[in-house]
Symmetry: C2
Subunit: 330 residues, 2 copies
Amino acid sequence: MKRPTLEVVAARAGVSKSSVSRVINGETTVAPQIRDVVMRAVRELGYVPNGAARNLVTRRTDTLALVISDPPQGVVSDDPLFSAVVRAVSRELEAAGKRLVLMLAESDQSRTRVEQYVAGGHVDGVLLVALHGTDPLPAALARQGLPLVSFNRTSAQDVPYVALDNTGGAALAVCHLLERGRRRIATITGPLELHEARERLDGYRRTLRDTGRRSIVALGDFTRVSGAEAMRQLLEDDPDLDAVFAANDLMAIGALRTLRQAGRRVPEDVAVVGFDDIEAASYTTPALTSVRSPMANQATAAVHLLLGLINGGPTDPVIMPNELVVREST
Amino acid sequence: MKRPTLEVVAARAGVSKSSVSRVINGETTVAPQIRDVVMRAVRELGYVPNGAARNLVTRRTDTLALVISDPPQGVVSDDPLFSAVVRAVSRELEAAGKRLVLMLAESDQSRTRVEQYVAGGHVDGVLLVALHGTDPLPAALARQGLPLVSFNRTSAQDVPYVALDNTGGAALAVCHLLERGRRRIATITGPLELHEARERLDGYRRTLRDTGRRSIVALGDFTRVSGAEAMRQLLEDDPDLDAVFAANDLMAIGALRTLRQAGRRVPEDVAVVGFDDIEAASYTTPALTSVRSPMANQATAAVHLLLGLINGGPTDPVIMPNELVVREST
DNA sequence: CCGCCGAAGGCAAACGCTTGCGATAAACTG
DNA sequence: CAGTTTATCGCAAGCGTTTGCCTTCGGCGG
């Protein structure tokens, strides 16, 4: 059951290991005649080069790590985001001929394991999703000196990133509500220790302030139940509100339920806008208007940035614009 | 920026490479005093063993591949299943100190890439999700002689697997409907080239036959729209039906929408049962009764089976039981 | 016809680690 | 106290590739 090595291929082809290696790696300095005999031997023996040996000498692995640093109940655990990102990254790396190792860092212990792994030279670069503002991992990985791209602005300096335009997206949502003639626009925020949630809140606040209106804020944590709860709170605080901007779709869905229970019609009495445009946003009744987060595009862009970095390319951050998808809820 | 090697650690500690290696690998045949001095050197230098070199000699990689063989629009693309499986596998491997490389095989080209990769000795074993009955990958991977576990029965012989009890789950659903007094129970199937879909249909048919009732079948493809469409078909074929068993939740959700549009009340006029119990099943109105597929447990079991195989354990298949979650739609 | 140049293939030295085996010294045994 | 067994450690041989450099050989120019 032993796999053949370069040596036996060389023997079979009647040439040296060097030549076989050169053929395998597509070098041009080898005579077509030798190339053919080598290829034949390779095929006959079913030879596949040993990865470890190759990595050892070339110091490349053609493998990138996707690290998702988030507590088990965190934001990225949110299914739609998780699979959109993972799948897009996987596809893009596949297309580039690279491999993906996926690491969920859900505890400090696993975070140090990630560091060790990266330090062990197993990967050529790291793609990092670390939404929490105080996460130590970005800085730790940056220190390793390996190419690194983050999925958002990090507290660590000089980490190239690809981020959504959260502020702009929130502004988009609020402007839309204003155009629809809404006067009292509330918001349900995400957990404010996340950059993402902060920025969405900022966008909401700034837009309202610019038009001389006041903010009505309830805190959520990006879960559906927190959205429902926050909505109850808002109705209590300000029964006359006529619109809600939720910082993500799950909370918007929760809010919809609360509104229905409270007998408010959507959108007649209260308009609702979500954020992310997850699949489920189009299932709800009424279907949810939402700011589309181009997660897949973001992931693709992040992979490209990283691959560029590995080849000595530029480190300029990328900001992804997002667009509003108008449905029945506004 | 060069990382230190065993050699420099040994020099610093004033011992041989062997001793350092033994300390690193936690062998017991090393004197505590030496152990300490080595550990200190390791810490001071920030030494981390090089993975490639280690793999090369030990022939282990502590890395397992999760291969998802499915066309881009396939079943597993279904977000909830995808992320549940990926996340559970990742957690379990993390706990076992192993690494996960994720490979989506969405084309024949990428399927051969998977084979090459596995043959290249990059992984110690493979976890395979290949639902399509005609997928050649199970057999191809089995031929490699590496430990392999599939997420369902495969056409390839002798591949250990961990499968859901699809037949039993469907029976559970139908029995429940019968107990609720339903007489005309229809079903919406998944794409029948999938084992999964076949088995669920079998379970439905067998249960009805055993109680002397006839089957009412419409074909779907596991997508929400196909569910809606199939439901329309069913209403046309048999306007008097009083219950529907959908082979997955997405189709059940589609069916709910069609029923509402058709003015049928759920569950008063028509009861609906789904399969999988995805997150969204509890969001719908009315909330969906569903057969819970313990995907996470299944994934965990698969990982354990694989790890066992690697250590020479048994290859007995595992069948996961599932339970019915009763909600408002029945 | 001779010398030189370039192309192409082979040799052998790494790459960084593990591990069987022998060496050494300490600890026993009788 | 001599003969042995034990506990530790070091030596060096790989593991399977890649690659710098040297060798060889055919071809070309002078």
